[in-house]
Amino acid sequence: MNDKSNTLLFVRDLTIYYITDDGVVKAVNGISFDLERGETLGLVGETGAGKTTAALGLMRLIPDPPGKIISGEIVVNGKNILQATKHELHGYRGKEVSMIFQDPMTALNPILTVGDQIAEVIRLHEKMSKEQAYKKASDMLELVGIPSERMSEYPHQFSGGMKQRVVIAIALACNPQLLIADEPTTALDVTIQAQVLALMRELRQKYDTSMIMITHDLGVVTEICDKVAIMYAGQIVESGNLEDIYENTKHPYTKGLFGSLPSLSSKVNRLSPIHGLMPDPANLPDGCAFHPRCPNKMPECETRCSVNTEIESGHFVRCLLYE
C-alpha cells in the first residue's frame, strides 16, 4: 500500500480511566505501540491489567460513563480515531477494525439467527443486496468450518466452540485490516482452543490481517504472535519480538511470569511465583506500579517510574534497572 512506513496502527500514550463515585480507576496509563500490516501483537497480562480496556479503547467502545479516554492518540490508516465523528465510527467499526470478544457464550444475540448476525455486518459495510449478503454470510460460515445449512439456527443451538467460530466469522466478514482478539480461546476447552487458533492463523494468512491477540496465556502467544507487549497495571512494561521477550527477558515482572510457568524440559522443585497481588487500579502505588512485588526493588522505585527504554532495537523495557 502507499503508506511508506507500512504502519497500520499507531498508539501513543493512550490513557483510559473509569471515573466512578468510589474513585478513579486508572485502567490504562499511557500505553504506546505500533502495528504493521500483517503483523500480530500479543498483549499479555494478568486479569485486570487493562488489556480489554485498551482493546475497547481501540474500538472506541469504552462504556461512557464511567469510562473516559483521557488522552493519547490512536491512528489507524493515518486517521486519528479519537477525533472521529459518530458517523465515521460506524464505518470504522466492523470494517477497518473488528473485534472477537472474550466470551462467545454471551457475545451473540440469542434471538437472531446466526445467519442474520453475520449478514448484518456485511450489509452494514458492503453494498450488497440482501441475497448477496446472506450468500456471503453462508460462505463465511463455511470458512470457519460450520456447514452453511446451520445459517438459520439460533446461537443456543450451537456449542461454545462453534459460537466462537461464528463470532470469528462476524469479525472477519468484511475483511478488516485489524482484528482484535480478546482472549478468544479462554472460554474454550483445550482441543477447541487449538482448533480456533489454527483457524485464526489460517485466516490471517489468507487475508493478510493485522492482529492484536489479547491473552494471559504465554503459550498462545508463541503460537500466533510476532511481537509481544507485557502489560501490568495499565502500562506496557516490556515489549519486543518473541525472541526478545522469551529468550532475553528483562523486566522483573516478565521474568516473574515465566518463573511461574511449569516447564517440561527443566526440573524445578518449586515454581517461583510473583508474590502479592496486582494493585488495585483505583489506588496505584507511587513510583513504579510493580515495586511492591518486585524482587529487584531499589529505593528509587518507590518514588519514580522509569521511562520506556529501548535496550535493543525494538525491545523496550520500562524499568529503572535498565534506564
Partner: protein
C-alpha cells in the same frame, strides 16, 4: 407447538372449575335472600317461600352447585333475577364495551409506556429519566378512581371540554382510557426501563456496536426484542387488570360495561349475573394468559425450542410406552 396449545387449554379447565366453585360458595354464604329482594318488602312469607323453591334456593349446596355447573356446560348461565333475561345475553350486550375500553387503554399504555421506558433506560440518570420515573411512580401510586374523579373535575367541571359520563362517541373514551391506563403506563414504563437496562449492558449489544451498527437499530432491533419477555408479561397482566379494574372506572364514568353491570348485580344479590360475570372474566384471563405464553415463543426462539422439545419428549414417551 400444537400439542403445547392443547395442553395449555386443558389446563385451564380445572382453573375455571375452581373459579366457579369459589364464586358459587362465596355467593351462597353471603347474607341476604334473593327471593325476598326480587319480590320486595310487600310480598308475603308464603310467596317468598314459593319463589325460593322455584329458584332452587332450598336445595342443598351440592345440589345447587351441580345444577349450576350442568347449566354452565350447556352454555346456560342462568337467568337474571332482576330482569328475567338470560345472563349470557346480558353479558354479551355489555362485554364489548369493557373489552373495547381495556384494549384501548392497554394500547395507549403500550404506545406511551414502552417508548418512555426505552428513553429512560438509554438516558439513564438524566433529567428525562428522573422525570419519567417520578411520573411513573405517581402513576403507580395514584388510585385510578381518584384520577378519574380529578379528570372529571378538571376537564368536565372546570374546562367543560370533555363529557363526564356515558359512552356515546370518541370524546367519551378519552378520560376513561386515561384513568384506566395510568397504572399500566407507569408499570410498563418501569418494566421496560429495567429490562432494557439489563439488556443494553449485555455482551451481544457490544458486539453489534463493534459491527458498526447504528445506535437506533441496536436499541430497537437488538435490545428491545431481547427485553420484551418481561414487558409482554406486564402488558398481559395490565390488560387483565384493565378488564377487571374497569369495574371501578365504569362506575365513575357511568359506562354500561361489564364492570358496572356486576357491581349493580352484587348490590342486588343477583347471583346468576355475578357468577356468570366472574366466569366470563376468568375465561378471558385464561385466554389472555395462553396468548401471552404463545407470544413468548414468538419473541424468543429459545422458548420455542423448549415447547418443541416438550412435545417431542411426549412423542418419544408415547412411542416407547
Amino acid at each position: 407447538m400444537l400439542k403445547f396449545v392443547i395442553k395449555r387449554i386443558l389446563v385451564t379447565i380445572p382453573v375455571l372449575l375452581g373459579v366457579t366453585l369459589l364464586i358459587f360458595t362465596m355467593m351462597y354464604f353471603t347474607n341476604g335472600d334473593p327471593a325476598r329482594l326480587i319480590l320486595g318488602d310487600e310480598a308475603t312469607e308464603i310467596e317468598v317461600e314459593v319463589l325460593r323453591e322455584d329458584l332452587g334456593l332450598n336445595d342443598s349446596f351440592l345440589e345447587q352447585y351441580t345444577n349450576y355447573l350442568i347449566g354452565v356446560i350447556k352454555g346456560n348461565l342462568g337467568t337474571s333475577y332482576v330482569t328475567g333475561i338470560p345472563v349470557s345475553v346480558e353479558i354479551m350486550d355489555r362485554i364489548g364495551i369493557t373489552i373495547r375500553l381495556a384494549t384501548l387503554s392497554t394500547l395507549f399504555a403500550v404506545v406511551i409506556g414502552i417508548p418512555a421506558g426505552i428513553i429512560s433506560a438509554v438516558k439513564q440518570y438524566s433529567a428525562v429519566d428522573n422525570i419519567t420515573m417520578i411520573l411513573a411512580l405517581l402513576g403507580i401510586t395514584m388510585p385510578n378512581f381518584w384520577l378519574a374523579l380529578m379528570l372529571v373535575l378538571f376537564f368536565s367541571v372546570f374546562l367543560n371540554i370533555l363529557p363526564a359520563s356515558g359512552l356515546y362517541g370518541p370524546l367519551y373514551y378519552i378520560m376513561p382510557v386515561i384513568s384506566i391506563s395510568a397504572v399500566s403506563i407507569a408499570t410498563i414504563a418501569r418494566m421496560t426501563r429495567s429490562s432494557m437496562l439489563e439488556v443494553i449492558r449485555q455482551d451481544y449489544i457490544r458486539t453489534s456496536r463493534a459491527k458498526g451498527q447504528t445506535e437506533f437499530i441496536i436499541i430497537f432491533k437488538h435490545a428491545l426484542k431481547n427485553a420484551l419477555i418481561p414487558i409482554i408479561t406486564v402488558i398481559g397482566i395490565q390488560f387483565a387488570i384493565s378488564l377487571g379494574g374497569a369495574v371501578v372506572n365504569e362506575q365513575v364514568f357511568a359506562i354500561p360495561g361489564l364492570g358496572k353491570f356486576m357491581v349493580d348485580a352484587i348490590k342486588a344479590r343477583n347471583y346468576p349475573v355475578v357468577q356468570g360475570g366472574v366466569l366470563v372474566i376468568a375465561i378471558m384471563f385464561s385466554i389472555l394468559n395462553l396468548l401471552i405464553d404463545l407470544l413468548y415463543a414468538f419473541v424468543d426462539p429459545r422458548i420455542k425450542t423448549q415447547y418443541q422439545k416438550s412435545s417431542k419428549k411426549l412423542k418419544i414417551a408415547k412411542e416407547e410406552g
